[in-house]
């Protein structure tokens, strides 16, 4: 079930340009007069009808959700990928080489764990915004988000990989590989890495849901995706302004999409964990 939901949402996002009736990211196509149209009710000025209604700028909510989900998923996947690469490399190094390198990496990780990751992400985002020239800010906002969330998320990967590496390092096959003179790098990548990947995959799935929520949180706080290229979080931020005035659809549909996306990815992660756990098999 959760697999089905995830796949259909991801498909929806991938094929958004084909599925969406409008292109919400092209401001030239917007007609402000279509603003605040309710779901399936004709607009009072233009008589246009929108399945899920429009937001305050006259953007079709359905199209905006599909395109917004692309941003959310793209940021989520890329950020987790970045965090995973970073975490696995540092974790392997810390666990395999040990000594002072281990101490340095893990103390940095401990320090970062004491900050809420959203705070770290906001810090990185703020610095990046300050150093990018204004004309590129909108284009790089997405990459900055990825960097911010990725850098705030690597610690979990590093800790798990380090722990698993410490265990694997003692095993005979590693010692055998060392004895026949294989280089450290080869031992790490060819022998240890495949054996520590299972927990990494589980964490990656759960982190994906967290990263999507982190992106939505940042955008909700107004420091993420720009309002002219809204992601799900930006849409929710716009929508909550109109909570009291009865324009519920601007908030409701993006929120329910985010909920479905995060929940189903989480359930998928749970299932993956059970499936990969030999003791439960």
């Amino acid at each position: 079930m959760s697999f089905f939901v995830v796949v259909s949402l991801i498909m929806g996002a991938i094929f958004a340009p084909l599925l969406a009736p409008y292109d919400p990211f092209d401001p030239a196509t917007l007609n402000l007069m279509n603003g605040f149209t309710g779901p399936l009710t004709p607009n009072q000025f233009t008589q246009d009808v929108f399945v899920l209604g429009t937001d305050d700028q006259g953007r079709d909510v359905l199209s905006t959700i599909l395109f917004g989900m692309r941003i959310s998923l793209f940021v989520g996947f890329s950020a987790v990928f970045l965090a995973m690469i970073l975490g696995v490399i540092l974790g392997l190094l810390a666990g395999y080489i040990g000594g002072w390198l281990d101490a340095v990496i893990m103390r940095v990780a401990d320090v970062q764990l004491t900050f809420p990751s959203i705070l770290v992400a906001m810090l990185i985002f703020g610095i990046a915004k300050g150093v990018t020239p204004a004309e590129f800010r909108d284009q790089v906002a997405i990459w900055v988000l990825i960097l911010a969330i990725g850098l705030s998320d690597w610690v979990q990967f590093a800790r798990v990989v380090r722990g698993a590496t410490l265990v694997e390092r003692q095993k005979e096959y590693v010692q055998a590989a060392q004895l026949i003179g294989r280089a450290n790098l080869a031992v790490m990548l060819k022998h240890i890495l495949p054996n520590v990947l299972n927990p990494v995959l589980v964490i990656a799935t759960i982190s994906l849901a967290l990263a999507i929520i982190a992106e939505a949180t940042l955008s909700f706080l107004g420091v993420g995706a720009p309002p002219t290229k809204p992601s799900l979080g930006t849409l929710i931020r716009i929508g909550q302004e109109y909570m009291f005035s009865g324009e519920w659809w601007i908030l409701f549909f993006p929120a329910i999409t985010l909920l479905a996306l995060a929940l189903s990815i989480n359930l998928l992660g749970d299932w993956l964990r059970d499936a990969l756990n030999p003791r439960l098999r």
């Binding site: 092209d26 401001p27 030239a28 917007l30 007609n31 402000l32 007069m33 603003g35 605040f36 000025f45 305050d56 700028q57 006259g58 020239p133 204004a134 004309e135 800010r137 909108d138 720009p226 309002p227 002219t228 909550q240 302004e241 109109y242 909570m243 009291f244 005035s245 009865g246 324009e247």
Partner: protein
């Protein structure tokens, strides 16, 4: 053992009594909990000429003359004023007797001399209002003469936001110099206040909470309602949160009910909405003075320097759509940057421009920008009604004539310095006119930026002929000649399309029905006039 126990009980009882006393006093009817989107930028009364900053200052400090809640002159620290019978270049002010500052010092003519001088000094943001004054003389303790560089019939209307500071307090606290806000300076006067006003500062956390309490030695006791004894001011930027605070009874008075929530508030028992047109126009400014602008994709040229581009942008703005959808009818589309309250305003110039995308595109092509260009729009998000939504709508409208707009919306505390420092190429600004005269607009917004004038002119526009006309306004005594000059300046402003007017704001004050006050056109509640049931 027994003893400690009873001690403990006693302490608990005392504590409970104290807590309930606090609870009782905080629900007392005279406390007014006030919220609006943004905070005052500084407590230094001469550092920022900005609406919310003056509004807070008006509770604590006083000028010689104020405008009451309907916009009429009222004597404040001066009891009466008139041109000198002997010299047409001199205004004589008689000061109120027996007025003291919150710290007990007496208010005298010396303080007026000091305060006007301070407001004319380099860092002051109030200079434009005072540039006709060449000398301020203390004749005696309660009489002041202001000498102007020519007869200035409208001088009193320039003084309604010019607050009087105690010279002794300023000297002993090292705040004789005005705070340099653009330079990021903070001073004692920016965080502390000592005025003669009806309310004293109790505590202040910028952007969080400011508490004022009534001045028990206020000279106006018995003359004003003064039914509000304590004011708790909480800026709440988020519109939905602000309305929720009013609906839940957490605040009693908000100055900016979001237009989408007017019905909801008006239909709630115990709450009322009062509406009135505001003396304020909202518009976009463009940096046309620079040879090349920083945040665009055109190298070696400034597209905004071409009047055809500016006119095309003006034609691309669909003011009716903004009024009907973004403002839900709560605005009046504008064709000039003066509100109808102002001398110099005409219905003809203000007749809003019709949107014509084809003609705008043709103008763009004629100017050599048929393929458009990209530019950054700087916009505040806690100052004007739906400011960010208007800017977003403008992004779409500009896109229709090929201009790609990158929107950067931020709090006014970061936005306004961009304009006063000349660091923005395309920006939103709103301008209220406390003097009710066009000269004020010209002095701040169209005169060449320099020592004494043009501090809010972010356009880089500089026209010596216009500057000469503006400077002549201060001393022109023939009102019809003066009005003819005003019209001539407006013709230039309109011809050159110096600004892109959007609309005149409509004010919506939401309040508990216990609060009795009418909306003032300048959006500056003065709480001494409020009644509380």
């Amino acid at each position: 053992m027994q003893l400690t126990h009873s001690k403990k009980t006693l302490r608990t009882m005392l504590l409970t009594a104290a807590v309930s006393a606090v609870a009782i006093s905080s629900v007392s009817a005279e406390t007014l909990r006030w919220a609006r989107a943004g905070d005052s930028l500084t407590l230094d009364p001469h550092a920022q000429n900005e609406g919310p900053t003056h509004t807070l200052a008006h509770q604590i400090y006083e000028p010689l003359i104020i405008r009451d809640m309907s916009g009429q002159f009222q004597a404040a620290l001066a009891t009466d004023w008139a041109p000198s019978p002997d010299d047409p270049n001199v205004w004589v002010f008689n000061l109120r007797e027996g007025v003291t500052y919150h710290d007990g010092a007496a208010f005298t003519a010396e303080d007026v001399v000091f305060s006007i001088g301070r407001a004319q000094s380099e860092n002051s943001n109030m200079k434009e209002l005072l540039n006709s004054i060449v000398e301020v003389r203390a004749v005696d303790d309660l009489t002041v003469e202001m000498v102007t560089d020519g007869p200035n019939p409208i001088l009193p209307s320039n003084l309604t936001n010019l607050f009087m500071m105690d010279s002794g307090w300023a000297e002993s606290n090292g705040v004789v110099e005005v705070q340099d806000v653009e330079g990021g300076e903070t001073t004692f006067a920016a965080t502390n206040a000592n005025g003669t006003g009806a309310y004293k500062l109790v505590s202040r956390e910028p952007d969080v909470r400011t508490v004022l309490t009534q001045n028990e030695n206020y000279w106006g006791i018995g003359q004003f309602p003064l039914e509000v004894t304590e004011i708790i001011y909480t800026p709440i930027q988020n519109a939905a949160t602000r309305v929720a605070a009013l609906l839940s009874g957490e605040v009693d008075f908000i100055q900016d009910v979001p237009v989408q929530d007017l019905d909801r508030v008006a239909n709630t028992d115990g709450l009322i909405v009062k509406t009135a047109p505001q003396n304020r126009v909202i518009f976009f400014g463009m940096n046309m003075g620079a040879a090349d602008i920083a945040n665009d994709n055109v190298d070696g040229a400034n597209p905004l320097a071409d009047v055809r581009v500016r006119r095309a942008m003006n034609m691309a703005i669909n003011r009716d759509a903004i009024q009907q959808v973004v403002m839900r009818g709560q605005s009046q589309p504008a064709g000039m940057i003066a509100p109808p309250f102002v001398n110099g305003w005409t219905a003809e110039m203000d007749g809003s421009v019709s949107t014509d995308i084809d003609a705008a595109r043709a103008l763009m092509a004629e100017a050599g920008y048929g393929d458009g260009f990209s530019i950054q729009l700087d916009c505040p998000n806690d100052r004007y009604i739906n400011d960010e939504a208007i800017c977003q709508a403008a992004v779409g409208m500009m896109a229709q004539i090929g201009i790609t707009v990158n929107l950067d919306a931020k709090p006014k505390a970061q936005h306004f310095p961009l304009i006063t420092n000349g660091e923005t190429d395309f920006y939103m600004l709103g301008w209220g006119v406390p003097t009710y005269d066009s000269e004020y607009i010209f002095n701040f917004l169209t005169h060449t930026r320099g020592e004494d004038r043009g501090s809010w002119n972010g356009t880089g526009y500089s026209n010596p002929e216009m500057d000469a006309m503006i400077q002549s306004l201060a001393s022109e005594t023939d009102l019809s000649a003066r009005n003819a000059t005003i019209q001539a300046i407006w013709d230039d402003v309109q011809e050159q399309q110096l600004y892109l007017p959007i609309h005149h704001q409509v004010l919506n004050w939401g309040m508990s029905d216990a609060v009795g006050i009418d909306v003032s056109p300048e959006d500056d509640p003065k709480f001494k006039f409020f009644t509380m049931n």
